[in-house]
Point group: C2
Chain length 341, copies 2
Amino acid sequence: MNLKQLSELLGLSQTTVSRALNGYPEVNEATRERVLQAVKETGYRPNKAAQRLATGKAGSIGLVMPTAPGHQSDVHFGEFLAGLGEEAVRHDFHFVIMPADPDDEVAALRRLAISGNVDALFVAYMRGHDPRLPMLKSLSIPYVVHGRSFGSEPDYPYLDIDNEGAFYDATRLLLQLGHTRFALMNGPMHLDFAIRRKNGVVAALAERGLALEEDCVSHALMTDEQGLLAMEQFLQLPERPTAILCSSTVLALGAIRAVNQAGLRLGEDISLIAHDDVLPLLKPENFSVPLTTTRSSLRAAGARIAQRLIGTVKQAGPFPDQELWKTELIVRASTGPVPQI
Amino acid sequence: MNLKQLSELLGLSQTTVSRALNGYPEVNEATRERVLQAVKETGYRPNKAAQRLATGKAGSIGLVMPTAPGHQSDVHFGEFLAGLGEEAVRHDFHFVIMPADPDDEVAALRRLAISGNVDALFVAYMRGHDPRLPMLKSLSIPYVVHGRSFGSEPDYPYLDIDNEGAFYDATRLLLQLGHTRFALMNGPMHLDFAIRRKNGVVAALAERGLALEEDCVSHALMTDEQGLLAMEQFLQLPERPTAILCSSTVLALGAIRAVNQAGLRLGEDISLIAHDDVLPLLKPENFSVPLTTTRSSLRAAGARIAQRLIGTVKQAGPFPDQELWKTELIVRASTGPVPQI
DNA sequence: TACATAATTGAAAGCGCTTTGGATGCCCCG
DNA sequence: CGGGGCATCCAAAGCGCTTTCAATTATGTA
């Protein structure tokens, strides 16, 4: 059933039927009723491809999903998508997800943008000097970046959390508790948030004349396995750190295992603060020793970005181009005063 | 830059350019070269919407993502998507994800199918007598179901794991270890896999003349919180179960916390077997007491389903309509002989 | 009553691509 | 030397929708 058939059935022109369906005012209410009724009876649905071709609007936002046979799927991805979806469903928007080899992201994003398949793009996993940025600027499709790109002029639309501030605050708390030996379990070094978090730690330490030693920093994928390995390394250092900053609750999971296996007590021998993306799976308050965290909801960020993206496409008022969300520092039991030796 | 412009630039007809691009044989090799060269220089990309309208092929597979403000995002979803993506990227397929309120899934799926936006559908989270099945059958779009629907004639294309067999085997192992008091921590009761897993347990117990008491079964969302709660319930029963079957490693996470909090030792006082979907985040071998599991990779299932879906769309040979994957029973340290009292 | 104005409806022209059904020119063979 | 066969190429007709421009009818006013 297509528009033509439907309009013939009703004895109307395609024009009128189309207008009736799309809520244009210049159509008689009685006629509109008749059309709506017929739609209900026939189950007619407009062909999206045709609609898109005619209007240029796709009703969809596009994103690239890095994927490859060996590639760890990212727990955060699902949660973020849920946030996007929460908002998208209200506007009858959908997502076009282009899976792409992590090495091919720039090209994949480009293909997606030019395909005409999407109205707007969402971009994440930002790196320093991210090459996608100049490419996006040269295109004329709206986009919002989740995160930022260190080293690039911040003149692109983004939503980010204050990573530097979060880790600065966390470090200060630990300093106030008397800790002096710090370690940082970070995400992959090339990612923007990792750079900023490290800067936050370094800045807070510097205020006390302390430095962050190279062997007290790990950069790794955010899995619990890597957390375990990194913590094991830290625990073997001659000057074992007593304060750990951790870029994810997932890393913390492994780290805590290492702490336990070493016979140490979390919150007493070792203090740990992790960044919490509010993954439903891993609630810091549910850890056997509840975790002190810097918190910012990934899901909320997703919803907000969807709102901006969709709003822009629908030309619903201007949105702030740059947003920087503060994180909350929530103190639980994994932090305590530095142990007396 | 569109086809028309490109062809004018080349002094060729749209027909020829289109053919050159799509690999048709009736075009001079020299001409094809010229076209390809021009494409490279101009950066021309065909408009997907137009292509789709003309061919009816979208190069995409569609899925519905249940989502709502309160709705827990499912850890398994991301992993499954990664599996789909792994295969899709090879064929330049993408996904169209329609977020939908969980109560609106049937309608959402229908909209998605009729939209012309997708070539094939993927369907999951099957329930008993699932209403989506008759709807899908009435449409003429290819689809593959992940899981099955208890109570419906199994004449639809699916890929499922042998849930009943998995839990039957797991239960038998525990029986052999001498356990007689069993409990089952299951997923939501209306979901197909939950029904089958329960059946598996019941069947194995029945062979020994044992029954599964009602208060030894929990049905809940598969989060660690629910795992904790369910286990706490079990531990308070007058005849405390010594053998626990668990539908997910996520549930197990919470369950083990409850076990520890009660001062019991996993693998000694309490034996536990969990089903492992091979989530990268939660490796059973990394639990403080490594978990005995029934294993089946969600990611592999995703990849296989994508393969079938894309293969069907591309008419690349016939695929088996029904596939039932066996699970592996992997014994680790969370199971042991029944404790002597 | 006559005419300007508002309310409805339609015909037809795209949107950018694929594909059918010819054309055109060239080579080869009888 | 004429026509069949082949290699190339093209004009134009859709695919199913939106939207411009124009036509028709109903309404109101002087």
